[in-house]
Amino acid sequence: MEKIVFYILALIMIVAAIASVTSRQMLRSVIYLLFVLIGVAGIYFLIDYNFLAAVQLTVYAGGIIVLVIFSVLLVHHIEMELEMAKLSKKLITGLVCLIGLGVFLSVIYSTNFNVVENSKTTDVSDIGMGLLSYGAGGFILPFEVISILLLAAMIGAIIIGKGDKLTKNDDTL
């Protein structure tokens, strides 16, 4: 059962990803991306990381995608078709990517992973304890750093996004 679900998810993700990077319409591209992200969340569900899957859905599917859609709508006409790269460039890039993929896969399949059989379920409190503990294996410092980063990014985004108007207001002050 899970095997079939995984294959279906994998198929959806790969197809949606390819569609996303080849679609000539911006908005469709974003929607295909949404499918990929949901597929990723599905994989998280499959391996019993429910909290992570929820975060993936809310932040990515709910937040980032909406943000990107907004920007697409702000800067594009819906029906506008995207300019595509030259065929030769596509072919060369595709070739390089295929070779790279071959290298990756050959390395992966020639490596013997020491897989530990388990069916452990992780609940939210474990993640919370891990993130906020300051003992061994605790991630309190990166957590705080990330929060500062998010704040800084937010302020930066506001200032960059409003750039012109802010400076104009400064002039009038």
Partner: protein, 642 residues
Amino acid sequence: MDISYILFIPFIPLAVFLLLGIFNQQIKPAVSGYIGVLGLSVSAALSYYTAYQYFFVVGKVDGVYQTFVEKTVWMNFTDTLHIDMGILIDPISVMMLIVVTTVSLMVHIYSRGYMKGDDGYTKFFAFLSLFSFSMLGLVLATNLFQIYIFWELVGVSSYLLIGYYYTKTSAVAAAKKAFIVTRFADFGFLIGILIVGYYAGTFDFQTLNAVNPEGEGLLLNWASSSFMGLSVITWALLLIFMGGAGKSAMFPLHIWLPDAMEGPTPVSALIHAATMVVAGVYLVARLFPMYYFVEGGFALNIVAYVGAFSSLFAAIIALTQTDIKRVLAFSTMSQIGYMMLALGVSSYKGEEGVGYMASMFHLFTHAMFKALLFLGAGSVIHAVHSNYLKDMGGLRKYMPITNITFLIAALAIAGVPPFAGFWSKDEILVAAFEKNQLIYFMALFVAGLTAFYMFRLYFGIFWGKDTQYKHTPHESPISMTFPLLFLAFMSIVAGFIPFSEFVTADRVAFEGHLNYPMAAVAVGTGLVGIILAWIFYKKENDLAERFSNAFGMLYKWAFHKFYFDEIYMFVTKKIVFNLISTPIAKFDKKYVDGTMEGIGNKTVIISEKIKGLQSGRLQDYAMFFVSGVVIVALVFIYLWTN
């Protein structure tokens, strides 16, 4: 003997030079003259004091004049090979101190009159002081390298002073010529110094000249290496002599001296008659034990022949010149040749070394009377405003003091007793007679020629035709006549100094005595010359003209200085420039520069082509990056497996 105060002798002129040079604009000309004279007076007084101390009080120990050295190591190469800076006091350096400071002081005083009203009056005195400093430093040098440094400084001062009238093209050309010719000679000098440093392992005069009690040179390793059949040290000595020959205007490096007369006359008197041009003689004298002992004195023989030939050569040219300063210039060259030949025929020990003594003696007396001749000529030029004999004549009526002093100097140089030149010239002839008859007869012939051309000059200027002058010539001011009188006095009495008591090759005094037959022959030759000049030039007549016409070709050759300038021009311009330098320059421009520029241009072209890679497109960079990663991964995974 505490000799540190001697440092003041060169450094006072240096201080004067700096003062006058830096405050050139601020100091009034009248004051600058006094500063220069004052500085040199102090130096001269110190020199006289030094001479007194050295020769009469502390210099002599057990009948041998000692050498006093005070020096500090400047650059250290090995234990024995180092360049020092210091002062060296021995008979010849003390004697040179007196010569340089005396003549320099007289020239300073004289210049106050001669240069009056000149635009660069202060500058002139600054240069004179610079020259005095350099020359005194040269005289006091303790080692070959120090002497070389001051040697070049002297060359620079000479260049500056010859080119003093820098608005005159001929003066600038003469200055350049003097500098280039002497510099060319100094190139040999430098190579010689380096050879000495390499093979003898020291630059120090005392070590190089060391002599053991038996009177043999201690520099025994001179035979260790040889080159083309001669010891390398002999080669070094010959090269050093090349430097000396350049400065002393010996054949064939003499061509700059006549042209150097473009400088102001006091400069000619100081530099190109009395001091700088004898630097070559001084250098050979300074290294005399080396010259004498290394390889049986081969290098010294060369010195003798070069000196003798130059002496004769210059005397013949001097017969024909019409520019009075040029006559004096060739006369100087001839007399320096005399000194060189005297050194060349000298031995080292005792009375055998009479040539060395005679050379130094002649250097001393010659400095006095030749400076006097130049200053007298300057006085005449000052009055007549011309350098040429044809513009002069009958001046004895207008310039009595100049006339008398010039006559004294002319008698001195002609070797008439009891004037100074007689005594020193006699000693030289004695030395030459004992060693080498050929050189003796050359020297004797030159003595006759000297007397003849000098009185040709004297009669031509002060007697002869009664020229009508636009402005009536008048006697020069006291500042110019005083040096004339002083030097005339010196020219009379200098000959009575018993030089063999003071300056000898092996530092042991001996009793000098007059060789009467020799003296009689010499005086006779001189008198013949004077009488011939009397007949030819006392009254205006055409004897001289007929005589020179009789010689025809020879006269013309001599008048054109045997075409040496033209030969040098041909060699440098036609052969060196056109055949060597120009092709090299072309080669340099075409291939050496071409290669370098080609590399530069190719780089630019390639850059132009590949700068498209730096497109600014992020995605291109990402492409390169990914390709690179893939390639590196492939290499490391599949090709680098071991």
